[in-house]
């Protein structure tokens, strides 16, 4: 299975969703979503609360099983239950809205946990990489702090560092600025813009239209469990074709 995981067509996009369908009981959240993320590109998902953005990201990270459709990572369908889900998740990075830092571990240990347990790095090696990553996100002086001693912006940067230190092939960001005070949003967004410039492949759910404009190669508007409109930020945000998209954007601009 491991051999199969790393194979796949070199021409296939890094991530391709085809007809992804997911319901919770009677409630249909994803009603057949098609989506592609090319390597070194950034796709931004926008849409109202409950439009399925988070479920889509969780499905890609295999935190939710889908009812139908396929999720191809480099051409391999990772939604198949015979695929080793732990191995897939080890290749992806996920950042949550509420940070989800481990409260009982120091920031440094939050970063080295997967390095040591999953990627089998030695303690010294893992800590060196973690300290370097913390310096990169501007938290070099917080290595020995506990998560509850950080501000929201610091905590979210630490959470992003925790995902990045494992060198993910694809970074999934779920509303990473929604829990932050407005003056703290900037520090997190600047970090993401920097990542984008370095070529990190990202799939982002956000309510920050300014961020979508700055970094997205592709903006997808989710509505009623499907991708209603997709295109460049200019197309979707400046010149939306669908009435529902126009309505959604108009409400944001008030």
């Amino acid at each position: 299975m491991t051999a199969e995981l790393t194979s796949g067509s070199p021409l296939a996009p890094l991530l391709a969703l085809r007809g992804v369908r997911k319901s919770f009981g009677e409630h249909l959240v994803l009603g057949g979503v098609d989506l592609e993320v090319a390597e070194h590109s950034c796709v931004v998902l926008i849409g109202a609360s409950g439009s399925g953005k988070s479920t889509l990201l969780r499905a890609v990270d295999l935190l939710e099983d889908i009812d139908d459709g396929s999720i191809q990572l480099r051409g391999v369908d990772i939604a198949d239950p015979w695929v080793d889900a732990d191995a897939v998740r080890a290749r992806l990075g996920m950042v949550f809205q509420a940070y989800n830092l481990f409260a009982h571990l120091r920031v440094l240990d939050n970063l080295t946990l997967a390095q040591r347990l999953v990627h089998k790095q030695g303690k010294d090696e893992a800590e060196a990489a973690a300290i370097e990553m913390l310096a990169r996100v501007g938290l070099a002086d917080k290595a020995t702090a506990y998560p509850d001693q950080l501000s929201g912006g610091q905590a979210q940067r630490a959470a992003i560092a925790r995902a990045l230190v494992n060198e993910p092939e694809l970074l999934l960001l779920d509303e990473v600025t929604s829990a932050l005070d407005p003056e703290l949003v900037g520090e997190v967004l600047d970090l993401l813009v920097g990542l984008r410039e370095e070529g990190m492949t990202m799939l982002v759910a956000t309510h920050e239209m300014g961020f979508a404009r700055r970094v997205a190669d592709q903006v997808c508007f989710l509505d009623g469990g499907r991708v209603l409109e997709a295109g460049t930020p200019e197309q979707v945000l400046e010149d939306p074709q669908q009435p529902r998209t126009r309505e959604f954007l108009a409400r944001l601009q008030v």
Binding site: G31, L35, A38, G69, P81, C220, V227
Partner: protein
């Protein structure tokens, strides 16, 4: 770069694709395999345990003394009569302990200066009855209180035994309630006080309801434990299931009645435990399995 946006919704009712069906078949096969593995491992472990038992040198004599089928059946009616006393003691001691435990916990959270003696008394009470073995509390209450010759105090063993269990168990339960009260988020209190509720109103209407909800699984565990500890009142001479068994054993030194009494306690406590588990699971109190679904 992106597939054509699927702007026109597919109105046909959903039929699982062949891919989805294949996944379902695969998952069913995995479940069947898990079941067979569980079955095989159970058979092996149970078989080993049985073999260790029957191959022990004293097994023949032990079987005669502890597992005499005729004695077992013969004793059941008398033991069931004794168990009826255990069940009554359990229900009464359980209810009284729950109420008393909650009152003790609330008393401990009061802040009025005039109530300091109350708070101090609660701390001493809980420390003493949580720290002393149940057996000792039973002996002291069972033999100490009648020695006072208080005319209004009932001296039946069942009453004194119940009283001793209440003292010990209300101390346990008070600590659980207190943990629940302390786990209520301060923001809840702030919101209630912001609405103008007094401290006492906040405790009664906001803190206690949430505290109780937090600790229901722990409370039910203690109440189930009380069911079996109700058998301890036999040491005071109350004729419960254990005492009935003891009297019979003293006659002929066949220990089967003890095994039969244990069997009867299990008949009550196992369904009770399962009911508690089921209740907790339905309320989503079993962690991620209960609420979010398991992550594969």
């Amino acid at each position: 770069m992106v597939a054509e946006p699927n702007a026109v919704p597919d109105q046909r009712p959903w039929q699982p694709s062949e891919k989805a069906l294949a996944r379902t078949v695969y998952r069913a096969r995995r479940r069947r395999r898990s079941f067979l593995v569980a079955l095989a491992s159970t058979v092996v472990v149970a078989g080993l345990a049985w073999w260790v038992l029957v191959s022990s040198p004293g097994w023949e004599r032990t079987r005669e003394a502890f597992f005499d089928p005729a004695r077992f059946v013969e004793m059941l009616p008398a033991l069931a009569g004794g168990l009826w006393l255990n069940l009554r003691v359990w229900v009464i001691a359980g209810l009284v302990s729950l109420v008393l435990g909650l009152l003790l916990a609330i008393a401990r959270t009061t802040t009025a200066p005039a109530l300091f003696p109350l708070r101090a008394a609660v701390v001493v009470f809980v420390d003493v009855f949580r720290g002393v073995p149940v057996l000792l509390v039973l002996l002291l209450v069972g033999f100490g209180l009648p020695a006072l010759r208080l005319s209004w105090l009932p001296v039946q063993a069942a009453f004194l035994g119940t009283l001793a269990l209440v003292l010990t168990y209300s101390a346990y339960l008070a600590e659980i309630f207190r943990a629940g009260i302390e786990a209520v988020h301060p923001a809840q209190v702030a919101a209630a006080r912001a609405l103008g509720l007094t401290r006492a109103q906040t405790t009664r209407r906001i803190v206690v309801p949430q505290a109780v909800r937090n600790v229901v699984p722990a409370l039910l565990n203690i109440v189930v434990a009380l069911q079996k500890d109700s058998g301890l009142i036999s040491i005071l001479g109350a004729v419960d299931a254990i005492r009935v068994a003891q009297i019979s054993v003293t006659g002929d030194y066949n220990f089967t009645p003890y095994v039969a009494a244990g069997f009867l306690f299990l008949v009550v406590s196992i369904p009770l435990t399962r009911a508690v588990d089921a209740y907790n699971a339905r309320r989503g109190w079993r962690g991620t399995r209960g609420v979010g679904g398991a992550i594969r």
